[in-house]
Symmetry: C2
Subunit: 536 residues, 2 copies
């Protein structure tokens, strides 16, 4: 008795049911014809892509997904196909998986456990299923489960009791740092406890704020990982079974933590740009570390020919900033433009001096510079059909050290979830592959260069203190008292928290960025703007 | 046997537990000392304000809310107080109501039905309670329920079966057009069916995108509304009972639909500005209908002394636009500034001509004008500490007829959920009170005035066709086929839907605005940016 299961780790486009249907059919036929698989398993909600968000409220969308089932079933005769889709029933909408055989639906499974935390809103759309769904393939009893189901011990045990010899699970599990270890540990523990082998199929690809990292895997009944697909890549792989015991296969090595974060950012940029049909990207290059990193990421994601950079020096820009920016453009082989902002800044200052009682100055003047750069970049983006990338990092996004409609302007913010210290680490990591960022950019003190001799630490705590405070407050929900008790100086803690609390209005208007931390800004952290809550 | 219940329809500040606690204590003491009430009932989650969103994930916040219970109980001896708060128990977090008597908690109720649709995310935070909680006050058995509970027939029936003679319900039910009729109809039907009188206490006030309209009411066992508090105002009212039968009292008349929408916008602006501590507001006045309406709303919300307007004419601005804008400023008595944008637009066009192959032009040039205005308004906002109001309407927000970082710049977008046709109706309504918007503004064809002789209907379907198409597509989730079947020309339907689908990226960066429709943009409509879904 033998069994061959193909894992289809593929990159869907959310909402594009025609594209996804074709991809499922092609992949299934490949698994049947080239791999001789008995069963091919796709990821969660494969027909719609994940997460479809409020498209799930549209009756036409749900009806279209249903039609795709017949199309797939009829086009994949000769192989069992397990796909995910929203299923409208009398009771309501379910997050379902259908096992297709002989041109029709043989077994339906309705997801039991619906995540409704973090970036997930599944209870907004779906009602919970409550049964097991087993299907016999080559005489093996296979239980079907979906994502969150396998994080809850009771559900796998219920399937074991119902006679499951093997579990397959359809997933859309987004990346964050070290998530893969957490994910494998959960599944390994359950497989071991229940002595139940498990095939875990994950989506791969970028979708707005999320990156799905793939890294599908198989665990045997002893809890050993016997197969792992590559991270961040499409891959259709065949798993051989001896009875219901998976035969040991290829385990793709895991990236180091820093490499996986870098790859997640690259994939997130690539898919946002390509899936949204942009010709390429444009970004402002300041000579600072943030834009240097975003440039490297963009080139790695899209190739140098798709990336333009713009230097926009002002009277406060040091010559080494221009030199370093030019060097970065040269090292990565991208086209650069130089647009000095002096003339437009002077025009605004002159104009506004007439209406502002004591003239422009201070933060207002700094913001005008940043906004003039925003206007220039958006004009170039408009004219060339290129997406403007915003280069702000998570530390800035946290404390509001950024100008709305200025340096915050842009369609996508790749490093929005990357704290400043991690920006440096990622830059060093990238340089360890090939040197693309000049050393001086890594060593000089960071500055916004909006005023003479300005440095970030003039108005912010040093980043090696600020970043851990922010992580505790924003990602771990610690109070000021807890952070101080952990050894941070009260004045820094109070200052940082106060800035985070006050900055929600800016974050609400910031472009989406790629989640790489356990809690990113965006769908993942939903705070009121109007609030009397003060962390301190 | 008699009973006196005070309804405390008050305006809380989300997250400001100190403020809310004081307000609860003051209101309860007033109900005890001035009204001789036996029981005072507050709205849902009164201690934290509603909705606290992800503040509910913070342990320090939940602990602080718990402390407030003791503080309130000890400060309100001599009257029963029913307040709402998040309650952390072994099982998890509940959306609870506590009945306080004699300095302690007498009865706890845990909300059974948790809304997780539209603007609501309660299953993100809370787990469902499943029991009834009755309390005897002056010998009357009173059942405690919370908001969504009374929209589900089973829950009131369960309370009736448990011996309830009277139901009180703590609510945070946000406004949208005609919602009050829906709300009262639901409660009336249930009261009548179960022959159970019901006291409905609603929050009042603006909170980011939401306005809570108050209009608390009492229904007797025959299903008659025997008391109604005013809409959009704080009010503490006493209801007399004969046994458990409410005695007929004052029923505040309901506003007309248009008047209620106007009042919702006024309250939404006022609370956003005041609760966020702004000195006042500033807005660009173009001579068009949108900014004219926003100006009138802002003055009605804050008073003329808190409102500044800025005229920013360009070479494309018609003289009648300036005349009308000046007339509006004069009629409403607000301070105006005139800042012609020619010099800064020329400076940008000159600068950009050097880097753009065929120079600035077309939409790029239009956007530059809009963004120059954005820079000017933000500089004035920065310098004066005044909130910039954005004047775009829902029709524009739907189809993307607006410039990111240009006319979309601002901290708050009061008419973001008001379609263009309703903008005209609201303007006429306001003029029916006192004439503040010149007739010509109401009758001339709308234009963005970013190019010579430009009119909105050069690039958009006429608003009397566009607006109903948008309502069907955005608010009712109808497909193109359904909208065409309803009699709309295919070319208009396809064009409108395509524009809506493409504009999500702009909406994601737009400031919050006030929800007045059944489905607003923002928390209420969560669409992916990256999507292959096409409504057509």
């Amino acid at each position: 008795m033998s069994l061959k299961i193909a894992i289809a780790q593929v990159n869907f486009i959310v909402g594009d049911i025609g594209f996804n249907t074709n991809k499922i059919i092609e992949s299934a036929c490949y698994a049947r014809d080239q791999l001789a698989a008995d069963l091919v398993v796709f990821s969660e909600l494969s027909i719609t892509g994940y997460p479809p968000e409020d498209l799930l409220l549209r009756p036409d969308f749900i009806a279209r997904a249903k039609l795709a089932v017949d199309e797939i079933a009829l086009a994949t005769l000769g192989i069992d196909v397990l796909v995910g889709l929203p299923e409208l029933a009398d009771e309501g909408l379910f997050n379902s998986a259908f096992l297709l055989r002989n041109g029709g639906v043989l077994v339906r499974y309705r997801k039991n456990a619906l995540p409704n935390y973090g970036v997930f809103d599944e209870k907004r759309y779906f009602i919970e299923g409550d049964g097991c769904s087993l299907v016999s393939v080559n005489g093996i009893n296979i239980a079907i489960t979906i994502c969150e189901d396998v994080w809850q011990a009771g559900i796998l045990a219920k399937n074991k009791a119902a006679g499951a010899q093997l579990v397959v699970t359809l997933n859309a599990s987004p990346f964050h740092a070290a998530k893969i270890h957490q994910r494998e540990a959960v599944v390994v523990a359950q497989a071991k406890a229940l002595q139940l082998p498990l095939v875990y199929v994950n989506q791969v690809g970028g979708q707005d704020e999320l990156v799905f990292d793939g890294a599908s895997f198989v665990v045997d009944a002893a809890g050993e990982v016997v197969f792992r697909a590559e991270e961040f890549k499409e891959q259709i792989s065949l798993i051989d079974f001896d009875g219901y015991h998976p035969v040991k296969g290829q385990c793709a090595p895991l990236y180091s933590p820093i490499a996986s974060e870098y790859q997640a950012l690259v994939l997130g940029i690539r898919d946002y740009v390509l899936k949204n049909g942009f010709q390429g990207v444009i970004l402002g290059l300041s000579g600072g570390i943030d834009s240097a990193l975003v440039l490297a990421l963009a080139v790695d994601a899209l190739g140098a020919s798709k990336v333009d950079v713009v230097l926009m020096p002002s009277r406060y820009t040091q010559s080494m900033s221009n030199e370093d920016a030019l060097e970065e453009a040269k090292l990565l082989g991208v086209k650069h433009h130089i647009v000095p902002i002096e003339s437009v800044v002077v025009a605004f200052n002159t104009l506004l001096a007439e209406v502002l009682d004591d003239g422009v100055g201070g933060v207002t003047e700094e913001n005008i510079q940043a906004r003039c750069r925003g206007v220039i970049l958006m004009a170039m983006s408009n004219k060339q059909g290129k997406l403007l990338l915003t280069t702000g990092n998570k530390s800035e996004m946290s404390v509001g050290y950024a100008t709305l409609y200025g340096d915050m302007a842009g369609g996508f913010a790749p490093i929005k979830d990357v704290p400043k210290l991690l920006v440096y680490q990622l830059a060093r990591y990238r340089n360890s592959l090939t040197a693309v960022i000049p050393d001086r950019v890594l060593t000089r003190p960071p500055s916004a260069e909006l005023a003479p001799d300005q440095r970030d630490d003039d108005s912010l705590p040093p980043y090696d203190i600020l970043d851990p405070i922010l992580e505790r407050y924003v990602e771990q929900d610690q109070s000021a008292a807890e952070i101080i008790a952990a050894g941070y100086a009260p004045e820094y803690v109070y200052r940082a928290i106060q800035l985070v609390d006050r900055t929600e209005y800016k974050r609400r208007q910031s472009p989406p960025g790629i989640k790489i931390s356990p809690r990113a800004y965006g769908r993942d952290r939903r705070y009121p703007i109007t609030t009397g809550y003060k962390g301190v």
